[in-house]
Point group: D4
Chain length 248, copies 8
């Protein structure tokens, strides 16, 4: 129930159109609406830029098109989307497809001026996950610098990007297999590191579990971790960080 609705009830009471019990009765059913309003208030603080996403797997193309049509938020993402899904979505909304990231973006926001997100990948195989993070962060208005294929097997490749990494407000680092890179970045640069394990690997490293564990157990503090392959989540975490930064 919006403030205006409550005010209307109170005015009808004040003007004698309804009595106290009637007003109470109308208000009684308000709390849950209230909850919604309260929640919107809270969210209003982080408005223009609040992301919303449709996770494609397990949904029919019809489901997804319906959800896209119903959603008002912009940007709106469809994650893990095939080209076929993109084409269906493109029929009802102004969408862009990022093939490598398997990501549909509807309505990216205007560039902000609130700092920079570096997106780092250990290998070329991790690029799809890194791209999901990079495209989501860019679509939310942030400046994004990509630093790809700089894994610790050749640490000098990483150091060649020293300026970019030293300049970032937050660094998203994706790695599969041994997942060592986030700890190394955290030990060399001042920005907090969002560890993003990728499911690249085989044997005991298959599916990204070894990388996840390495990141969670990083001896270099300053690393926090999102789910395996969750480029979207890493980007939204970085986005919330930068929003707070702007807000000050």
């Amino acid at each position: 129930m919006s403030e205006d609705s409550v005010r209307a009830i109170l005015q009808r009471l004040s003007s004698g159109d309804i009595d106290v019990e009637e007003a109470l009765q109308e208000l009684r059913y308000a709390p849950f609406a209230d909850l919604g309003d309260a929640k919107l208030d809270v969210q209003r603080e982080m408005r223009t830029g609040v992301p919303e996403a449709v996770y494609a797997p397990g949904k029919t193309t019809g489901d997804i098109v319906g959800l896209v049509e119903a959603a008002e938020a912009r940007p709106l993402f469809v994650t893990r989307a095939s080209r076929e899904i993109y084409e269906a979505v493109a029929g009802v909304a102004d969408a862009v497809y990022h093939e490598r990231a398997r990501l549909v973006v509807i309505g990216a926001v205007r560039q902000r001026d609130d700092g920079m997100v570096a997106v780092v990948s250990a290998g070329t195989s991790d690029v799809p996950v890194a791209e999901e993070a990079a495209v989501v962060a860019a679509s939310l208005g942030h400046r994004v610098e990509r630093v790809y294929d700089v894994g610790v097997a050749g640490i000098h490749r990483l150091l060649a990007y020293r300026d970019v990494l030293a300049d970032a407000q937050v660094v998203i680092v994706t790695a599969g297999m041994d997942g060592v890179l986030p700890a190394v970045v955290a030990s060399l640069f001042p920005a907090p590191v969002v560890g993003l394990p990728s499911s690249v690997g085989y044997g005991t490293g298959r599916d990204g579990y070894a990388a996840l564990l390495t990141m969670l157990n990083s001896c270099s503090p300053g690393v926090a971790v999102v789910n395996i392959d969750n480029g979207y989540g890493a980007a939204v975490f970085a986005h919330k960080m930068l929003l707070r930064l702007n807000q000050e």
Copy 2:
């Protein structure tokens, strides 16, 4: 090798005290020292406040006292420390013991003015972990607000702290058992949430794995996770975030 040391060598060369080959010889052994310097340069950006910690388990009391005596950084933390270790450390340094957090703090820094860290715990059993995070963050100079025992079983308790949570630059949320609280905080408030699983629980939730998985799979984006019971790591991550914030 510090910049001053390099400059001294160059001046001796310039003034003819040494020749090129001698200068080269002295510099030849510098690169790794250089690396250290370079690293210190990078870290200088986040100086006064760079944390260092001694992890107590598996070390003898003698080891720990030795490491404390050798370390120059302040604050210096000894984590997971018994009172007996504290007492030994207190013999060689000006230390404070936080019993519930099992944490020794040596040389907390002066209060900064760079935003606030909210530390939230789902239950009273999670307080030791929450306290490790809170004391470390406060010792690093940040304003810390504690919001304890506000788990989702009674969500109104959480909402009673709405102002604090809406005001935080970053929220560290610790929970054991089902680990649901970080997702709820992330869905209600604008700050990024550092999920801190605690090892509180039994059966399938024992050791904090269920809580960890819940946090990694949070449907509400904006949560990144540190290792189970790693209050120190959560606080350092928040610290690095706030340092970046100040820097802008």
Copy 3:
């Protein structure tokens, strides 16, 4: 051995056609048949509505058709059935196919008047699992209310269905990924919650294990859990609850 068979033996003894030892000999081989009868007696208490199901994976179409022809129970379900299996079954029985639930139903029972089962899903991707539960419960004669796509990322969507949820005798809640929804429903509404983890998710949440663990460790009491994706089992559990309710 049926009661009639035993009576026939006793009558032949009573009429002198056989003597005691011959009767005893005939009866000696009866106990296991007796067990069957006994078991049927027990089951008779919950008759009209006792479900029976054929689990399709690993069986040939021929196997399934044979089992359908042999089974007397109605309703009879074929779970995880392809359309091809349905078409074969439809050749020998009066069957309905629920495509999204991959469920064949033969002989749904007449609507009972014994309370309502609410079937709740966190997301649209969970709908196939939710539908298996909903269609099975409805086919067993119960009133079913579907409340889909009301996950905690937007908790107001759940609260919009407050009346339905407050009215249910039992609520089946399916969720994948973080599996948080059953705990939230249990903390807000009076009905017991059957947690139904779905295999929706990726990374550490893949295959539904994170959701399962969250539900088992729910801090809000009043949740019991069935196997991942086991919509059929959740519905039968609800069915047995409602049968007991009627019986009183």
Copy 4:
């Protein structure tokens, strides 16, 4: 904010003591209190008998005594409590200690007349877990029948209790090791079965995981499962079932 508080505001508005904007201002801060109220409304439906519990591990005795003093709900349980904790609690509340169940009960409710809960254990080693369930259910006012040490290794022992089991509205079955008993009870009796895995076992069955998996995969439908050793949770689930039953 209670209904009375809202009514008072409305009456002051109606009587002209405050104007619309003042009333609105007072109500504006109500929504979260409202949420609480709303929540209590929902819960009121299941009042007298809503359980609340303090989980003892990880809390100091001081914490627990404080929580007991603060809690209004009756009955109030302290689970996994040592005798020492009981003695401290007994200093501030009228408490009973159930040693085998490691359970403190404060203010058990009067016996209801709403059906019976059978609590079944496979072995004698499972009795502590079974007792937690039985005492909690009884303290919430339900009639409880205990059927202990009737595991499938000697199935005739189970069948000797046929009348009790056939009569129960709900059967809580605890078992460790192979965890087979709930499936057997579900296949023989009409009541829904709450599977309660116990951590009794060794080797691959250690900690109750084998029992948990067996119960989740039960081929006999009609079993839902709670966390390992979670007797409290099993009893509350049964309690919510019986409350719904009474309500009709």
Copy 5:
């Protein structure tokens, strides 16, 4: 219901004391007793020697003494029993304590003449588990040969016992760590091998899981496996094999 009871009913029918319906009524309540009888019949085939056991952990000493007093079977075992438990049991029964096996034996049977069980251990650390198997098998009347500390690190030690192993009807092989020995025995000797993983080991071999997996995946066919540390189970399996052998 025993055969005599059934005969009595039939005789009363035959003699006209009761009519068919009355006889039927009496028999109707027999099935569960029948089941018991039937079961005893089945078991009678393998009588004198059917083992029964009380698993001590999780039971009070009082529980155990009560179960020992109630049990009629001989031999009766109390497994994983402390000396304290033994002493209590010795107060009510004629018991022998095998300290290394932590086993109480009550009423070992007379030596049979039905073949030999070889019990093999890889190392000295595995002896407690091996002894549980050996003492149980011997107490059930079988000839037992112990072949201890013959792990594959020195395969010639195993071969020195060639005659014993070639002569055994069944070989129980216990091993921890890499668990390789059962496969080696199976590849060299004709008897079926019961693999008995012990929880000896550390790191990834801790708790016996590595040994269990090795045994289950043995490339040498002819190995079947019991639970980790389940010396009792291995012995009973061997016992049932030898009973069948005698029976022919």
Copy 6:
């Protein structure tokens, strides 16, 4: 054979007490020569019937045909073989294909008269695994009785086969999902039970792990377990048991 023993033989040869052939004969039975010879001797005891198998996955059709051509043992099995593999094998050997068991059999042996193997399956989905066991056992010359689709959900179906089961020397019981059936068979019948978990199931029971754990933790002693889906291994274990039986 110690060096001294060898020297003694050589001296007797050197002094003419024995001739070359006699010395050779004595040396032939020397321990290490024994290792090779002994192994053949040992194996000779179980000749005609010693199984050998080619595991098809990961091998090319050419590999398999080559191995079949090289192997002398009869019967020879090719396990997990496609029809395509069978057709290639049939070009070089007199082979029979068992489609459901995915098994190629070359040269089954003549029927022995050494007891009976009962092969029991819980469900129809388990039949492929059961058939692998049954066909292998039959091909090795044993009498095999199949008892399929008698899972505990309808225990009377199992009891209908009481005579067969009571008569078996060994019972192979395959089950997926909850894996309960072997424990039930072991509690009702005298024969040792070889538990054979099948990978039938879903969710937490997927791939057969829940069934495996249930069988390893069986409260009814007398069950030993082979690897999931290892019908071949179960049959060879039974075969070795029956060979020992005959040998006496």
Copy 7:
């Protein structure tokens, strides 16, 4: 920054072309280049033969061709490569395809004279993994002897290759299923054994975990292990061993 570059700077300072601060400025940007140089220096010791590899999965064919064109190292490997990838690579480099090992080799080095690597496989199904190790080792210039299909089920097959195994400087042993072979080789021969678990197996041995655990827990010391199916890693480890050997 090479030594020559540093010397040039120093000479310009010495000759007065630049002053101390200018020299310092030029050197200031050297440390990371220095690191690279330092690293190359270190690596120079093991030059001619330092392997580099492109892991194909997750990369597009375009990615791989680009990486091959950019890499200078010879030999260069593309691992887990399809024939299609090979054909694309062959368009830009002089490449050889090893189909069974799924390996592309570009520029194998000339045969060294530094000892021999034995590559042993337990079964024919392990050959692809063994071949990856063998081809990589041979391409790095080492003499390689293949000893395939000598698993412990027939240990005499292994002993037939005694001379080769006794002669090797290092033995790479691949095995799936029970993974027993490395321990056996280590107990019989003097060379260190690199255990290489293959993902051959099913049930609990599926994906190579059982083999990995067996190898890690080997009771025969002298075994170290690489990741499952990591033939490339095993070969590089052996290569580094042999390089050290030559260097002495």
Copy 8:
């Protein structure tokens, strides 16, 4: 050695061409004798220094003293031994106790001149495991250099030991928590790296599994891994490497 070869030797003895001792000498190298003898021969190559060890856990002090008295090999190790065990062993053998490594050494061999083993630890908590490796390697006669507490959180500490690490024939690297150090050492230095995970850590890194996985998935090739905390195994692997090196 074929039968014909043996016959030939015997005939030469019989005809007086060779005498008994010569015949014995030739037979000593005979194949099946070969297996035993050969094994001794092979082992003779690595004599004075062939390690043998008694693993203390699970053994009584009496067991251990007995095994020490029976063993002839020197050095002989007792691993994971308490001081109490040491004192008992010291009563029967000339033993040295290394407290931190929990290792008893009996009869260390004279220093060889065959290269150097570097033992590196990431932290001070890893020292006990590192010491087990270092003391075992030194007791086997190798030169050992210890490089402790040089984890990647401060990589310059590692580089300060560049000369030692560049000089080693083999580097044993122990690390707990994230286990990153072996990969870093392998990427910087030419020697093969034996990764030795330690059980130092907490949460998801507890017990060393995260460190193990990181090492197995190392992106820097040249790392092979032993079991968690297996310092003894790492040292024996290094020992076998250096023996081969000497042998050339």
